[in-house]
């Protein structure tokens, strides 16, 4: 068992700097999801860990073993790093049977034959593929091939497994099943898993902790799913994790108001630290905006908009509201509200559980 530590890792493809002084620790026996938009450098980071890319600076540690250090001129070749890997395209060797695939890493570890078979069988049991040992990969479905890849990763290392978007090629249902299974296997064996993805939903379902990278390759927030959902640390995290509306509030005559308009005051609480700046960005989810009819008491909201479009989605309506020229997305439950709202109707808006961030200056 071992954790992973990246220290000030930098990497560039030619002119293009992908990672700059990147540091991240993954605790032992945890599932860490590294989540970021495509092109943010998360796959590069994985390849650095595996030894398939060579960083230009920094250190990479696995437990107390240094895998790479620029300064100390250490660069352990991939085959001696002892990290299991599951690639996006499975990379199950098509010319070997399931058993041979899983045995291959053990052969390279020079294990005696009976022990090798025992270990491989156990790994296959873990991924519920025990009955498929003599099959060729081409006889298996995508999900089954993925399981073989996981079993192979399990035997090649009992310390750390890296998974690079391993479920992207599966259909929605299978994806969910696989996530649950990965979770279960990790619980049984207790390996450390670094799971790399751009899929927010998958990482929320899987992780102990999530690390979110932005498009420039910088680390934005590390935390549990609860931290990320309920307490997003940065505007990027809030925007990346789901659909969002953003408004800039300005301070006028001691009140916060929308669009610089004193007739559109924000009556909720804004953290006091923004008062000195006088401006703040407020983010709110589509289902955090409610109309007057859903509020039991109180007078109509002074923030008034017009419904432009209403789209029925079954359990919800997606509404596009024109608020002083800005398009606001509102999601309204088909059950708690009074149903759909006529297009063209005027509505009063109230904002629930908003998040506040410093104003993003236009670059």
């Amino acid at each position: 068992m071992a954790g992973i530590k990246f220290q000030n890792v930098s990497f560039a493809y030619g002119e293009k700097q992908i990672l700059r002084d990147f540091s991240l620790s993954v605790e032992d026996a945890q599932i860490m999801c590294l989540l970021g938009p495509s092109g943010c450098g998360k796959t590069t980071l994985m390849r650095c860990l595996l030894g398939l890319n060579r960083p230009s600076s920094g250190e990479i540690w696995l437990g107390d073993r240094c895998l790479f250090s620029k300064e100390r001129r250490i660069n352990i070749p991939p085959e001696r790093r002892g990290i299991g890997v599951v690639f996006q395209d499975y990379a199950v060797w098509p010319h070997m049977t399931v058993m041979e695939n899983v045995c291959y890493p053990l052969k390279k570890q020079r294990l005696p034959k009976d022990e090798m078979e025992k270990k491989a069988k156990y790994a296959l049991e873990q991924v519920r593929m025990g009955d498929y040992a003599p099959y060729l990969p081409s006889q298996l479905s995508g999900g089954q091939q993925q399981r073989v890849a996981i079993a192979r990763a399990l035997v090649s290392s009992d310390e750390v497994i890296v998974m690079d978007e391993p479920i992207t090629n599966l259909d929605a249902k299978l994806r969910e099943e696989m996530l649950a299974e990965i979770r279960q296997i990790q619980k049984n064996i207790g390996t450390t898993i670094l799971y790399i993805t751009h899929d927010q939903e998958a990482s929320l379902q899987l992780c102990d902790k999530m690390a979110i990278m932005d498009a420039s390759g910088a680390l934005c927030q590390i935390g549990t799913d609860e931290d990320i959902i309920l307490r997003p640390a940065e505007r990027f995290v809030f925007e990346f994790i789901g659909v969002s509306n953003f408004f800039t509030l300005t301070r006028k005559s001691g009140n916060w108001c929308f669009f610089d308009r004193e007739d559109m005051p924000y009556t909720g609480t804004v953290p006091a630290e923004f008062e000195a700046v006088g401006r703040v960005d407020m983010g709110v989810r589509p289902n955090g905006i409610v109309f007057d009819d859903a509020i039991a008491e109180g007078s109509p909201s002074p923030i008034r908009g017009t419904i432009r479009r209403s789209v029925f989605l079954g359990s919800e309506y997606n509404l596009f509201v024109d608020l002083n020229g800005q398009e606001v997305r509102v999601q309204r439950s088909a059950f708690t509200g009074t149903g759909g709202v006529q297009e063209g109707a005027e509505v009063g808006l109230t904002f629930l559980s908003p998040k506040f961030y410093p104003v993003k200056e236009a670059a």
Partner: protein, 575 residues
């Protein structure tokens, strides 16, 4: 080895070992050296000898050869034949491709298999067969027609430009046929359906949508016909020599043959070669231009069976036409060769009484003939095996190691395919007859082997390359992560995965090498006759039934090997 270190995504596995050159460097270096020896030297020697004499630039030979009347005529013939074959072959290929790909004509699968048969056999077998039927007063059918209808002149003369064009056409139209059929099959049917919805009638859809969309496939096939026909030796030599009809490749052969292998003859041949290369080069430039101008992505969307066009009343007449075509281009020549192989003496009527196996006995008792079979087997197997490994190595270097200069590597390995076999033979003669480092391979079997390797390397390289592109780099990376070194990954993962492509690469070389004539006919020596050369020589010496017997043996070998290939490729799909 500076060309090694170009950093790219998954390409720097070797670099990650953090030390010296390794396997990758070795393979890269070897690829460059081998291609230099096999490809660059012969090409250089041709150009050098055509324009330099005793170390000085000298155009006199070149111009004198070119402006000789006979040579000009040969060039004219070459171009006329090639253009005519291209036009007729394309029309024929297109028509049958449409018939089998888009109409509701019955027995499609069967006919499709038959239509690709001409592809398997060397055209000069066909030329032999047609010669037996229609050559002047001797041809069987001509004789029958003359006696039946009391004609004084033979009605059909196969020993003419028209005859050559006809035979070449029947062997080259599959180039267009196969290209277009597969394009039609892969084409998204909604492209045509949306035109119907837009208001176009079925016939308008064919002209305005279907044909323009398969145009790239048509031009690719047509140019393949053009280039093949320009460089073709077998048919014009068999049908043309007796009536003094020459094309550039046959003229080169005649020049060298006449001079008895003297250097002067070879130099004249060299000059003509330049001419032939120039013509082919023009065709290649046209090809590049045409192909780059229009290549569309027509394969999209959910696969749905295309709506077949109902032929209604025309169905059975067209079926009859297709069957007759097959009978004429496939069945008749094959049957003819077997029949004549059985006949006791050429010219005897084809009746039971005149049949015997004596020709086969003679064939198998003649040491020269047996030697030719052995030589061809040795050459084909050796060239096949050597090229198989070389092809894999070069493909790996090009696709995975991607060194600086990989473009050059690719061009060098594919280039010889476009060089006419006749020209290549001359280049090999010029290079390996003692002028370079005193190596003299002339009149030995090795010089043929070198020529075969140059000629066929691109086949195995392309086959391995296509297969390597299917093998995702992550498969090799996964094995690294599993604890295998770079060399072990190559041995355990990559090579086994492309094994089927290597095997089919072998047969892609073995089969054409078994029936090769164009190059061998210029390179063979007293002890290095090949199968093709022996058939050609037997026929040339007037021993036509024996030539037919040997040809029929070759046909059997080819059919058996093709069956093996089909079986192997089937296995691959099953795995």
């Amino acid at each position: 080895m500076s060309f090694l270190r170009k950093r790219r995504g998954g390409a720097d596995l070797a670099a990650m070992e953090g030390r010296h050159i390794g396997v990758d460097g070795l393979m890269t270096g070897l690829s460059f050296i081998l291609l230099f020896i096999i490809v660059v030297i012969p090409i250089f020697m041709i150009v050098y000898n055509a324009f330099f004499y005793e170390g000085k630039f000298d155009l006199s030979l070149f111009t004198s050869v070119i402006f000789e009347k006979e040579n000009l005529k040969a060039m004219g013939n070459t171009v006329i034949i090639a253009l005519a074959v291209t036009v007729f072959g394309t029309i024929m290929g297109l028509f049958y491709a449409w018939l089998l790909g888009r109409s509701d004509i019955p027995a499609k699968g069967f006919m499709r298999a038959l239509f690709t048969i001409p592809y398997m056999f060397p055209p000069f077998f066909g030329a032999m067969a047609w010669d037996l039927l229609f050559s002047g007063r001797a041809g069987y059918i001509n004789r029958w027609l003359m006696s039946t209808f009391g004609l004084r002149q033979p009605p059909v003369n196969i020993n003419s430009l028209g005859g050559i064009i006809f035979v070449e056409c029947s062997y080259y139209f599959p180039f267009v046929f196969m290209q277009v059929v597969s394009a039609l099959e892969r084409m998204d049917p909604t492209l045509e359906e949306s035109a119907r919805i837009a208001g176009a009638r079925q016939s308008q859809v064919i002209w305005k949508i279907t044909l323009p969309l398969v145009k790239p496939a048509i031009s690719a096939g047509a140019l393949l016909i053009l280039i093949s026909s320009l460089a073709h030796f077998g048919v014009p030599s068999i049908l043309g020599f007796s009536k003094n009809i020459y094309t550039l490749p046959t003229m080169i052969y005649a020049l060298i043959n006449k001079s008895g292998g003297s250097f002067e003859g070879i130099r004249q041949g060299t000059a003509l070669s330049i001419l032939l290369v120039a013509v082919v080069a023009i065709a290649l430039v046209v090809q590049k231009y045409v192909l780059s101008s229009g290549s569309y992505d027509i394969i999209k969307g959910k696969s749905m069976r295309p709506t077949l066009i109902k032929l209604r009343g025309a169905k059975y007449p067209l079926l009859l036409l297709a069957s007759l075509t097959l009978l004429v281009i496939v069945v008749v020549p094959l049957v003819m060769i077997f029949l004549v192989a059985l006949v006791k003496a050429y010219g005897l009527p084809l009746t039971w009484a005149n049949f015997s196996f004596s020709n086969y006995v003679k064939v198998f008792e003649s040491p020269a003939t047996m030697d030719s079979i052995k030589n061809s087997l040795f050459l084909s197997v050796t060239a096949g095996i050597v090229c198989m490994f070389l092809g894999v190595m070069i493909a790996y270097v090009i696709n995975r190691i991607r060194p600086r200069g990989k473009g050059l590597l690719e061009i060098l390995s594919i280039l010889p395919y476009s060089i006419p076999g006749t020209v290549l033979a001359i280049g090999v003669i010029l290079s390996w007859s003692g002028s370079l480092a005193g190596i003299n391979l002339y009149n030995t079997i090795w010089i043929i082997l070198v020529a075969y390797m140059a000629r066929y390397l691109s086949f195995s390289m392309k086959s391995a390359s296509a297969s390597l592109q299917q093998v995702n780099a992550s498969l090799e990376e996964a094995s690294r992560a599993c604890g295998a070194t770079h060399t072990e990954s190559l041995k355990d993962i990559t090579l086994p995965l492309i094994k089927p492509a290597m095997v089919s690469g072998f047969f892609l070389i073995f089969l054409p090498a078994m029936r090769e004539l164009t190059t061998s006919v210029l390179l063979y020596g007293p002890y290095s006759r090949t199968l093709g050369v022996q058939i050609f020589a037997l026929r040339d010496a007037g021993m036509i039934p024996q030539a037919s017997a040997l040809a029929s043996v070759a046909i059997v070998i080819i059919i058996v090997c093709n069956a093996i290939v089909t079986e192997i490729t089937k296995d691959r799909k099953g795995a």
